[in-house]
C-alpha cells in the first residue's frame, strides 16, 4: 500500500529520460531518489504529481493507497509538493498562505485553531500576520511545508527542499519534515543530488539516459 511506483519511465518524443524505477514507500517513511542533476529527478516528481508538460508520456504504474493515479487529474491526486524555493504567495500573509492550503468549508474558529496549532508546532506562533517577504529562509521553508501538510495530502513530494538552506538550518528543517510526515503518517519522496539529505528511508538511484 501507500505510494507505489512500478517500472515507471518518462518518455519525451520517443526517448526515455531514465531507466525504469520501481519504488515502494510505506506510510511515515521518506524515501530518497538520488541522481546527478539533469537525470530527470524533477520530471519523475512531475509524473507522480501529474504535472508533466505537453509531449511527455509516462509508462508504468503509479498508485497511491491503492488508487491508480494515471488518469486522475492533478488537483484530485492529493499529492503535495515542496520545492527548494519556498514559493509562498507574496500577496498573502503567513496566515493567508496557510489558510489557502486548508480544505474548504471549515468554520472560522476551526480554521484558526488548525493554523495556530501548526504554527505553534513549528515554533512560529507569533508570525501569523507577518508578511512572508520578511521571513528568514528557514522560516519560509517551514511555512511552506506547513501549507502543504495542512491541505491533508496523502503523499508529499520533496524537490531538493534543503538545497537553499545552510548546514545548521538544513539539519533542523530535515528533522521538521520528518516529524511532520510521521505525524500525519503519509509517505514522502525526496529527490536530491546530495546523499546527506536523506531522511532515513530507503535510497534509490535514478540513472539518466544520455540526452543530446
Amino acid at each position: 500500500m501507500s505510494l507505489e511506483l512500478e517500472k515507471v519511465q518518462v518518455r519525451y518524443r520517443g526517448r526515455t529520460l531514465f531507466e525504469p524505477v520501481t519504488i515502494s514507500i510505506p506510510k511515515g517513511e521518506i524515501a530518497t531518489v538520488m541522481g546527478p542533476s539533469g537525470c530527470g529527478k524533477s520530471t519523475l516528481l512531475a509524473a507522480i504529481a501529474g504535472n508533466l508538460e505537453h509531449g511527455f508520456r509516462v509508462d508504468g504504474r503509479i498508485s497511491l493507497n491503492g488508487r491508480e493515479l494515471h488518469d486522475t487529474a492533478m488537483e484530485n491526486r492529493q499529492v503535495g509538493i515542496l520545492f527548494q524555493d519556498d514559493l509562498l504567495f507574496p500577496h498573502f500573509d503567513v496566515y493567508g498562505n496557510l489558510a489557502f492550503g486548508l480544505p474548504a468549508g471549515l468554520k472560522r474558529d476551526v480554521k484558526e485553531q488548525r493554523i495556530m496549532t501548526a504554527l505553534e508546532r513549528a515554533g512560529l506562533e507569533d508570525f501569523a500576520r507577518r508578511d512572508v517577504a520578511t521571513l528568514s529562509g528557514g522560516q519560509k521553508a517551514r511555512v511552506s511545508l506547513l501549507r502543504t501538510i495542512l491541505a491533508e495530502p496523502e503523499a508529499v513530494l520533496l524537490d531538493e527542499p534543503f538545497s537553499r538552506l545552510d548546514m545548521v538550518l538544513r539539519a533542523s528543517f530535515r528533522e521538521f519534515v520528518h516529524e511532520q510526515t510521521r505525524q500525519r503518517d503519509i509517505p514522502a519522496l525526496l529527490v536530491t543530488h546530495d546523499e546527506q539529505d536523506s531522511c532515513g528511508g530507503r535510497i534509490y538511484e535514478l540513472r539518466g539516459e544520455e540526452l543530446e
Partner: protein, 565 residues
C-alpha cells in the same frame, strides 16, 4: 560620459511634458472664454453652459461612455479569460506569434476592415446570403454607426485585446506560472481558482496602467469613431473635433469647453476605475483564502479558446475583406466574391498615395530615430545610476511614461495648435516630428525597457576593461548585442507614428497629409475599392517595417547562433 547622459531623461521628459502641458493650458484658456486670436478676452463659464445645453451633448456623452467603458471592460475581460484558459497551450503559442502583426494594424485600417465585415452589405451577411437569409439586397440594419456605439465598442475591444494580451505576457513572464500552477493544483485548486486567487492579484498591478490607457483611448478616440461610431450625434470626441474645425470660429470656444470636459471625464473615469479596483481587492481579500477549490466558472473555461480564435479570425477577416475589395471591379450584393477583378484601383490609388506615403514614412522614421536615441539615453543613464547605487522609482517612471497615453489627444492638441500658430511652427516638419514623438516615445520605452534593463552588465565591464572606452564599448558591444530588441522597438514606434490621425490633422495645417489622414477622410464616402487600397497601404507600411526589423538583425548575425534568439 556619465554627466552627459543625465541630459537624456531631462530631454525626454520635456519632449512630451512641454507639449502636453502647453496644449492643456492652451485648451483650458479658450474653454473659459479667453482666445485673443478671435477677439474673446474675458473669462467666463459661458462656453460650458452652452456645451451642457447643446442638443447633441447628451447623446454624444452617452455614446462616449458606452464605447469607452464597454470596450475597456470587454477587452480586459477577454484578454484575462484568454490567458486563463489557454496559457501554455499550442493555441497560446500561435496567438503570441500573431501578436506583433495584430498590433501593427493601424486603428483606422482595422476599423475600415471591420466595417466591410459587419456592415449590412459586408462579408458576414454575404456569407449567409441569399441561401439562409433570402436577402437580395443589403438588409436595412444598423450594424455599423449604430446610435449607441455598439459596433464601435466591439471594434475597439477587438483591437485592444492584443495590446492587453501583450501586457499580460510581459507580466506573466515575471511570475513563476508553471510552479504556481503546480502548487495550486497539488493543493486541489481548479485552474480558474488558481488564476483568480494566485495569478490575477499579482498580475493586475502590471496591467493597471495599460488598462487605464485603453480606457482613456476608448473614451476619446476620434478616427475609429468617425469610421464606425454613431453620427447623429457622434461621440463626444468627434463632436469636439467637429467644433474645432467648424467654419464658424466661435465654435472653437465651444470645442475647447468640450475638450476640457472630456479631459475631466477621462480623469474621473480613471479615478473611478482605480476606486473600483481598490473596492474589489478589499472585498475579495478574505474570500481569496476561504479554501473553496472549484467554481462554476470552471465549466466555461473553454470560452477562452473560442475568444482567442475569434480575435484571430476577426483580424484575419478584416485583412482579407480589404484585400478582396482592393482587387474587385464588380462586386455586387449578395455575391460572396467579386465577379470581376482588376488592378486599376491599386495603380490609381498608389499613384495618389505616393506623396502621403512619403510624408508618413519620413515623419515616422524621423520621430522613431529621435525616440530611440532619447529612450536608449534614458535607459543607459538609469542603468549606470543603478550601478552607483541610486535607484529610480519604477512606479513613478511608469506613470510618467504613460502620461501621453492617459491624457486624451483631443484635450490638448487644439492648445498645441494655437501655440504653434503663435510661434510660427504650424505645418513645419519640425513640429510634425515633434508631435509624433510625444506618442512614439512611450511605446518605444515600453517595448525596450525590460530587455535593456536585463542586459548582462558584465559584458560592458569586460568591454570597458579591454577597450578602455565606455563609448566605444557601448557602440561596439552593447548596441550590436541589443540590435534585435532595438530594431523591434523602432518598428513599434514607427507603427505608432503611422497610425496617428489627430496630431497630423492639428499640427499639419493641411500641408501634411499622411496615409492615415487620407484614409480616414476617404472613409467618409468614397468608393469602397479606393478606401480598401488606402487602408491596405496604411497597414502594409508598418508591417513592412516590422518585417525589416525582424529579418535585418537575423540576417546580419546569420552566422552567430547565440544571436538568433
Amino acid at each position: 560620459m556619465k554627466s552627459r547622459l543625465r541630459v537624456f531623461p531631462l530631454l525626454t521628459l520635456s519632449a512630451f511634458c512641454v507639449p502636453i502641458l502647453l496644449g492643456l493650458f492652451g485648451t483650458w484658456l479658450p474653454a473659459f472664454g479667453y482666445l485673443p486670436a478671435i477677439g474673446a478676452e474675458d473669462f467666463n463659464l459661458h462656453n460650458f453652459r452652452e456645451l451642457f445645453v447643446h442638443p447633441a451633448f447628451p447623446g454624444a456623452l452617452r455614446a462616449s461612455l458606452i464605447s469607452g467603458f464597454g470596450a475597456t471592460l470587454l477587452a480586459l475581460f477577454c484578454s484575462i479569460w484568454i490567458t486563463l484558459s489557454i496559457y501554455g497551450s499550442l493555441l497560446w503559442r500561435l496567438l503570441v506569434r500573431l501578436l506583433s502583426p495584430l498590433l501593427a494594424v493601424p486603428h483606422a485600417a482595422f476599423a475600415i476592415g471591420f466595417t466591410f465585415l459587419v456592415a449590412p452589405s459586408g462579408l458576414l451577411v454575404r456569407c449567409i446570403s441569399p441561401e439562409l437569409t433570402g436577402f437580395a439586397a443589403p438588409p436595412d440594419w444598423q450594424t455599423v454607426k449604430d446610435p449607441y456605439g455598439l459596433s464601435l465598442t466591439l471594434a475597439l475591444a477587438c483591437k485592444e485585446i492584443p495590446f492587453l494580451l501583450l501586457m499580460c505576457i510581459s507580466g506573466l513572464n515575471q511570475l513563476d506560472i508553471r510552479r504556481t500552477d503546480w502548487i495550486g493544483r497539488s493543493l486541489g485548486y481548479s485552474r480558474v481558482r488558481i488564476w483568480t486567487r494566485l495569478v490575477l492579484p499579482r498580475l493586475y498591478p502590471q496591467l493597471r496602467l495599460p488598462v487605464l490607457a485603453v480606457l482613456a483611448y476608448s473614451l476619446s478616440v476620434v478616427d475609429v469613431a468617425i469610421i464606425l461610431g454613431p453620427s447623429l450625434p457622434p461621440t463626444l470626441a468627434v463632436l469636439v473635433d467637429r467644433w474645432f474645425n467648424d467654419a464658424d470660429v466661435t465654435s472653437r470656444l465651444l470645442g475647447a469647453a468640450g475638450a476640457t470636459w472630456l479631459f475631466l471625464l477621462v480623469a474621473c473615469s480613471i479615478g473611478l476605475f482605480l476606486a473600483a479596483e481598490k473596492l474589489i481587492t478589499t472585498c475579495a481579500a478574505g474570500r481569496l483564502v476561504n479554501g473553496s477549490r472549484t467554481t462554476v466558472l470552471d465549466k466555461v473555461r473553454w470560452l477562452g479558446n473560442t475568444l482567442a480564435v475569434a480575435v484571430m479570425a476577426v483580424s484575419a477577416l478584416c485583412f482579407i475583406v480589404l484585400l478582396i475589395w482592393s482587387f474587385a471591379r464588380s462586386y455586387r450584393f449578395p455575391d460572396l466574391l467579386p465577379t470581376m477583378y482588376s488592378l486599376q484601383f491599386w495603380t490609381k490609388g498608389l499613384d495618389h498615395a505616393t506623396e502621403p506615403l512619403y510624408i508618413t514614412f519620413v515623419v515616422g522614421a524621423l520621430a522613431t530615430c529621435a525616440g530611440i536615441i532619447l529612450v536608449i539615453g534614458c535607459l543607459e543613464n538609469e542603468v549606470r545610476m543603478q550601478q552607483r547605487g541610486r535607484r529610480a522609482n519604477g512606479q513613478q517612471i511608469m506613470w510618467l511614461v504613460y502620461m501621453p497615453l492617459l491624457v486624451p489627444q483631443i484635450a490638448f492638441l487644439f492648445g498645441i495648435q494655437t501655440s504653434a500658430v503663435l510661434l510660427h511652427l504650424e505645418g513645419k516638419w519640425l513640429s510634425m516630428v515633434g508631435i509624433h514623438l510625444v506618442f512614439v516615445l512611450p511605446y518605444i520605452f515600453l517595448t525596450l525597457s525590460n530587455v535593456y534593463r536585463s542586459f548582462d552588465a558584465r559584458y560592458m565591464q569586460v568591454a570597458v576593461a579591454l577597450s578602455g572606452s565606455p563609448i566605444q564599448s557601448f557602440f561596439r558591444v552593447k548596441l550590436p548585442m541589443l540590435l534585435k530588441p532595438v530594431a523591434f522597438a523602432m518598428a513599434t514606434g514607427f507603427a505608432v507614428s503611422v497610425a496617428q490621425y489627430l496630431p497630423t490633422m492639428y499640427i499639419g495645417a493641411g500641408r501634411f497629409m499622411t496615409i492615415t489622414t487620407e484614409t480616414v477622410s476617404l472613409a467618409g464616402g468614397s468608393d469602397r475599392r479606393v478606401i480598401a487600397v488606402y487602408a491596405l497601404c496604411q497597414f502594409l507600411l508598418p508591417l513592412l517595417v516590422y518585417c525589416l526589423a525582424l529579418f535585418l538583425p537575423a540576417w546580419l548575425f546569420r552566422q552567430r547562433k547565440a544571436m538568433q534568439n
